[in-house]
């Protein structure tokens, strides 16, 4: 009793300092917390299939696959950043100069070649996810996934411009349109072309390098389905760990299927 009292008194005296035991306990707690965070980030390194299973709580909206199930296929090695798709998109959908519906990411390629200017390009557009994070966060349900074809659309009159969907989107595929005071994004040209009977979006039509293909995944006899399901291909999606189940697939394949040669 006496000892505890003196202990207490001691603690009161050393109010600024922390006892060794206390410090150890605190450090242990910290390690546990960082461990938990490490576990979380390690999860994102595992392949897409198991990462997907972690997100089974979130449900696929509508019936999957949709009829028709629109999807896009991009051969990433074929893109040459001519930006014809950007021009065609802006023209078709009245995209303002500050906005974008499709972007082309680029970076310098680190290969031991003679030229310093070799780059690689990656077109990124809305992935029309089967589990769209943007739809889940929208407070007014202005953005929604079309029940029949699965395209993520925006109802301009309901959008309040809170930009929650812009932060939720893992692909940074949305921008705020100051004219309509609503968020705008790629809709596979649904409103301007597909609705009116045109079979392809504007970007796919103008691509000179055949880097982009558009089609219906529910049609198992179609050219697009066969192209995507050809054996021996490594199909990639952007950010599989986000669990959004995107509908834009990336393939690495040059014309004729030859691989990048080693520099001489």
């Amino acid at each position: 009793m006496k000892s505890t009292a003196s202990n207490k008194a001691g603690m009161l005296n050393n109010r600024g300092k922390v006892s060794l035991k206390e410090r150890r306990r605190f450090l242990g707690l910290g390690l546990k917390i960082t461990g938990a965070f490490l576990g979380g980030s390690l999860l994102s390194l595992v392949p897409a299939e198991s990462a997907r299973s972690e997100l089974l709580g979130a449900s696929v909206i509508g019936t999957f696959p949709y009829q028709p199930h629109y999807a896009m296929l991009i051969y990433k090695d074929r893109c040459i950043d001519c930006e014809r798709c950007l021009d065609a998109c802006a023209q078709t959908n009245n995209v303002p100069s500050y906005g974008y519906r499709i972007t082309i990411l680029n970076r310098k390629k680190n290969i031991a070649a003679a030229s310093k200017m070799i780059r690689e390009f990656l077109p990124v557009l809305c992935n029309q996810c089967n589990r769209p994070p943007c739809v889940r966060v929208c407070p007014t349900r202005a953005t929604y996934k079309d029940k029949t074809n699965g395209i993520v659309l925006i109802n301009d009159s309901l959008c309040i411009g809170c930009k929650a969907c812009m932060t939720a989107c893992p692909y940074n595929a949305r921008y705020y349109d100051r004219n309509s005071e609503s968020v705008d994004k790629c809709d596979f040209c649904f409103r301007r072309r597909l609705q009116n009977g045109v079979t392809t979006p504007a970007c796919v039509e103008v691509c000179p390098a055949d880097a982009m293909f558009f089609g219906d995944l529910s049609d198992q006899n179609g050219d697009f389905y066969k192209r995507l399901h050809a054996p021996g291909q490594n199909i990639l999606v952007l950010r599989p760990e986000s669990g959004s189940m995107p509908n834009v697939f990336y393939l690495s394949g040059l014309h004729g299927g030859s691989k990048m040669r080693a520099p001489e």
Partner: protein, 126 residues
């Protein structure tokens, strides 16, 4: 003070000499990279990369390419399709002499962003 001015004069003359020598060297192989913006923007050609691989000026000029840089852009058949038939770049880039035009797209196609990068950082702002 006099010494300082003399030093400055010496240094600047040295720099000027070096500059002209560099320019002469560049003139020898066409003066830096050539960027084609037709029919797609942008395709880079560097003399630096091509010379010295059993290639001399006469290998390409004036038979395949006119000596004026960018002249060939005016031709309507300056396209990938005619390269595959062995015209222009396709004369060598056929898969045996040099890599085929059907592969390694980005080795020459630097794109719009690559062109901007080149203008801003590699060539200096005009």
């Amino acid at each position: 003070m006099k010494r300082l001015t003399r030093l400055f004069f010496l240094f600047s003359s040295l720099l000027a000499c070096l500059g002209t020598a560099w320019q002469a060297g560049a003139q020898e192989y066409g003066g830096g990279p050539i960027v084609f913006i037709k029919p797609v923007r942008a395709v880079i050609f560097e003399h630096r990369v091509h010379l010295g691989k059993n290639l001399t000026c006469q290998s390409c000029h004036p038979e395949i390419f006119a000596k004026k840089a960018g002249q060939v852009e005016e031709n309507d058949d300056f396209t990938m399709a005619s390269f595959r038939q062995g015209k222009y770049c396709g004369r060598c880039h056929d898969g045996t002499t040099a890599f085929s035009v059907d592969t390694d797209c980005t080795w020459c196609h630097i794109g719009v962003q690559g062109h901007k990068h080149l203008e801003e950082y590699e060539l200096g702002i005009k």
